[in-house]
Amino acid sequence: MAAVSGLVRRPLREVTVRDAINQGMDEELERDEKVFLLGEEVAQYDGAYKVSRGLWKKYGDKRIIDTPISEMGFAGIAVGAAMAGLRPICEFMTFNFSMQAIDQVINSAAKTYYMSGGLQSVPIVFRGPNGASAGVAAQHSQCFAAWYGHCPGLKVVSPWNSEDAKGLIKSAIRDNNPVVVLENELMYGVPFEFPPEAQSKDFLIPIGKAKIERQGTHITVVSHSRPVGHCLEAAAVLSKEGVECEVINMRTIRPMDMETIEASVMKTNHLVTVEGGWPQFGVGAEICARIMEGPAFNFLDAPAVRVTGADVPMPYAKILEDNSIPQVKDIIFAIKKTLNI
């Protein structure tokens, strides 16, 4: 009896993505008093999506600041504060609204260390939900991975699960450079097992390193954010048919971890990229271009293929919206086409 009970595993702690981000910010606020959070509804409302729940109660007005609806203004204020030595976390309620402030992100934050010849650093984090949600239509559904990933001087990360979310937000806050953290609203409420190391206050995920979520031999499937989950679902279905997919979670958009992707392609000889954003000039397009330039090209047995959002502004009606983002069936189809099965 005692032997059997010894074999019963205690379930691993489950933490939602929302709580993981919350924990990450809480720990960093506690660790360094220069860190502070500003954005719309982050304080008294506990965050528009409750990501900053409890923080204002714990840290007060000085460290958790509600702003008026003035993206360009408060993003600029955050960048100025970073230039003067503080470590702001600037929340955009969604990255769609960051377009109002994009000049501050690119021209004031990203380029300054370079333009100043290394004199003026900007240790700031811009975070918030990115990409498609559910039924919020075109102006509230855009993915900005390609837009921000385009710019030298920025770092851009895109967490998928809770572990990613916590490790990456902590690394972003500790980074002395401007970091854009592209979260996902539909992932906030999703629970994931939290490995013991993720429960440490010094748990960091390095920026610029991808993770192989599932090993495989027949094809490399590369993705970021919520679609990683869809890729794993597709891989589970295909596994039953004897196709083993290697699923790579990019975690970082810029600087991109091409080494991990190339090593995988050199092993599997096939590549499919999966993203929520639009196809033209997207993340997948960049991966394909770089594959062609590198050692992995000669290992491809078929052209690399992209699965992306549809090339339309996001429609509202459910059937239209569902078909405007990559579904599991679209990923499976693309994989089979690439493998010619």
């Binding site: 203004g73 003067a84 260390y113 370079y114 333009m115 100043s116 450079n177």
Partner: protein, 397 residues
Amino acid sequence: MRKMLAAVSRVLSGASQKSASRVLVASRNFANDATFEIKKCDLHRLEEGPPVTTVLTREDGLKYYRMMQTVRRMELKADQLYKQKIIRGFCHLCDGQFLLPLTQEACCVGLEAGINPTDHLITAYRAHGFTFTRGLSVREILAELTGRKGGCAKGKGGSMHMYAKNFYGGNGIVGAQVPLGAGIALACKYNGKDEVCLTLYGDGAANQGQIFEAYNMAALWKLPCIFICENNRYGMGTSVERAAASTDYYKRGDFIPGLRVDGMDILCVREATRFAAAYCRSGKGPILMELQTYRYHGHSMSDPGVSYRTREEIQEVRSKSDPIMLLKDRMVNSNLASVEELKEIDVEVRKEIEDAAQFATADPEPPLEELGYHIYSSDPPFEVRGANQWIKFKSVS
């Protein structure tokens, strides 16, 4: 031998003549200080303004004179170098054109005189004068303009992107520096060290929406931010009357108290700045200063500056309101300094600028190997792509 003796005696007599005049200057009794009347400032939402008289010490006067002359001469030199095509791109001198501060010297020197080195300052692209008053040398400023490795930003930034301790540039996007300045002020308040941030912008920028967003948040959160509008009456080729529904820039902060200052009088600028800084330090929140100045030349080197105003207008301002002449007259008439003494300063300044220009012309360009440097701060070295996939640059923090 005879020739040599003649030469030596010439030198010796020249030397003694010089020291004779020096002795003359030294033995003259200068006043230690003098009191001057300065223009009263127009006020907005303020019961009282800065004082209408101020005391100028001989020491300060000489310092301000030297600084203003240095800024002026530096900018004139930049103008010259630009015309010789040794400086490229944009050159916005404080007197216009190359964004030269001719006539705006009173602003940069006067503002600096009203604050501490531990305070902060940010401005737009007409920044060379402020870069100097905030502590960088003429050498590194000119070398940055000529794009050399000895430039203050190692040639990476150019005219519009110079940085120094507590000086945040040099910003190329019109108006973007204003929220940045409010953010620096937020950091001042956060750190609790009674520091303030001077946040400058022009009459053209004053119509930018983000400035009003910054006003709102600065007032809401009582940030120690001194918003300063340098009104030189023209936004590029557009006169203020053609750009702004209200040209009372000192009132445009609405709920933020404001004052309108004679920007051509360095003492007026200094007193107003002291007043504004004290206001902010007392925790009352932001304040707005409008400095009325004038721009002699065009917006930048490509603008002769006469298609949208008359030469007579320019001449009139030049002859009546030159800030350096104003200070000089005051000092000489109050026996704070002699004409000769000030002339000596002119000579010294000219030499300093010449030497700096020499350096800026002779210093080599930054090495090509460093093209990729300074992408990220505090990171291990990595590779940056060049114009094609085979060209790689090392990036070092």
